[in-house]
């Protein structure tokens, strides 16, 4: 045992690059599978409601605007979303996707709401809803 063995390590670190980046000026790239916020591609949505049913935070709300015209509205309450991407996994037509933004804070939670009004699409599901 001897005293001060940590000193070489300390000195070595004087010449090392910092482990952090200058955040607001320099931004790290997010990984490929990063789970940002979910968004809808309305032209693909067949309104199967799989995403609404599986969302653990109950952040997805689908309402019928006009049943006869098959017009629907989807609201994603991003303030409630826990960014788990289960909606993406559940969607049979890949209508739901995740973006890669991470600076999404806002002063008012209602500004985080996103909504789409669209006519139900007629596409053949690529897969069965993965969790049915």
């Amino acid at each position: 045992m001897k005293i001060g063995v940590f000193i070489p390590e300390l000195l070595r670190h004087l010449f090392k690059k910092p482990a952090t980046v200058d955040y607001p000026f320099k931004k790290l790239e997010v990984p490929r599978d990063f789970r940002g916020s979910p968004y809808l591609r309305p032209e693909l949505c067949i309104v199967c409601r799989a995403c609404e049913r599986d969302c653990p935070a109950e952040a997805i709300e689908i309402t019928a605007v006009n049943e006869a015209e098959k017009r629907f509205r989807m609201i994603i309450h991003n303030d409630r979303c826990i960014h788990c991407a289960q909606c993406v996994d559940s969607c049979p037509t890949e209508a739901m996707l995740m973006d890669d933004k991470f600076e999404i804070s806002d002063y008012d939670r209602h500004n985080l709401k996103m909504n789409w009004e669209f006519v139900r699409a007629v596409v053949k599901p690529k897969s069965e809803p993965k969790t049915s």
């Binding site: 940590f6 789970r35 788990c84």
Partner: protein
Amino acid sequence: MKFQIPIGPQHPALKEPISLRMTVEGEIIREADIRLGYNHRGLEKLAEQRTWIQNIYLTERICGICSHSHTTCYVQGVEKLMELEPPKRGLYIRTLVAELERIHSHLLWLGVAGHEAGFDSFFMYTWRDREIVMDILEIISGNRVHYGINTIGGVRRDLDDGQVKHILDSLEILRKRSEYYKNLGTTEPSFVARLAGVGYLSKEDAIALCAVGPTLRASGVPMDVRKDDPYAVYGEIPFEVCTADTCDVLGRTVVRIQELFQCYNIIEYLLKNLPAGPVAVRAPRRAKPNEVVSRYEAPRGENIHYIKSNGTDKPERLKVRAPTLGNYAATIKMLKNGFIADVPLIFAAIDPCICCAERAVSLVDVRTGQEKIISMNALKQLSLKISAGKVRKREAEWPL
């Protein structure tokens, strides 16, 4: 003269709300009492109103550090209820994330131990090295903390060759760094002297008080769910259960450092033997009425989920026994007859996660409720007798 010192629920020495009441004589703790319930979130009740799928994300949020432990424990149980057999590759990736999580948790703990022992540069360095693991986890799963990699019937993300290579390369750096921390002890006497002899928990007590995880293994009991009741693919992976017999905080540090090396070996084995194929199978929405107990070796110890299904798409009951809860009784034992100044260290040594452990529980009151009146002389003799056997080990040796 006896004093009662309350620490918490909010206190700078504690990172999470818990209330400790200690009866002290001078500097020595005679009685300790832990009170829980400041962080109860009603999570088990909530789970009964959520579907099997939704509950994965709910259990993930029981804890930030062992988020994978809780989902794996839950998902394993549900898979048993649904009679699903996840594909091999899925299980391998699940185990890989589990071991990466163990590394990040142990490195985090090492840092905290350094911090509590007053060795803050150690704290900074281990945490910087922990970033390597966090980056690997981010690359595999997409996010740093809640990986969301488990799903019922397998995992959600696959690994490609680039990722495998990245992990293997990073492992080399981690190995080197851990080797350095391992050797540090032999040459840094103040660190070892601070940890040795603190928070003594004998082998018998550890078993009797149902301690779990590194706390138990540091008392010389080679108990590990991965070995005793292999889940996932642990049955086919060669690894050793690490123990120490010093029964103190030093032993707990040593066990965790040794486990780091086992983790590196396990990860290397997993990546080199990664089978091809799908990563998940389709899960039904409902589970037949049944019940299951699922066990999992989390970085902090044995994690138990009890799940009961009733034929619907929601569980009838989900009970979570987090490892920290299993260690409370042992912590009280460790605190007794120790110094007040050792409280943060002893407490940190079980790697407590209060919010994990806060379930609807009625904790048995450990205090005897009796106050003995003894003369000042008898007291002095008592304290001499106790502190005679408990002197700080000046000549403590790093056992690695």
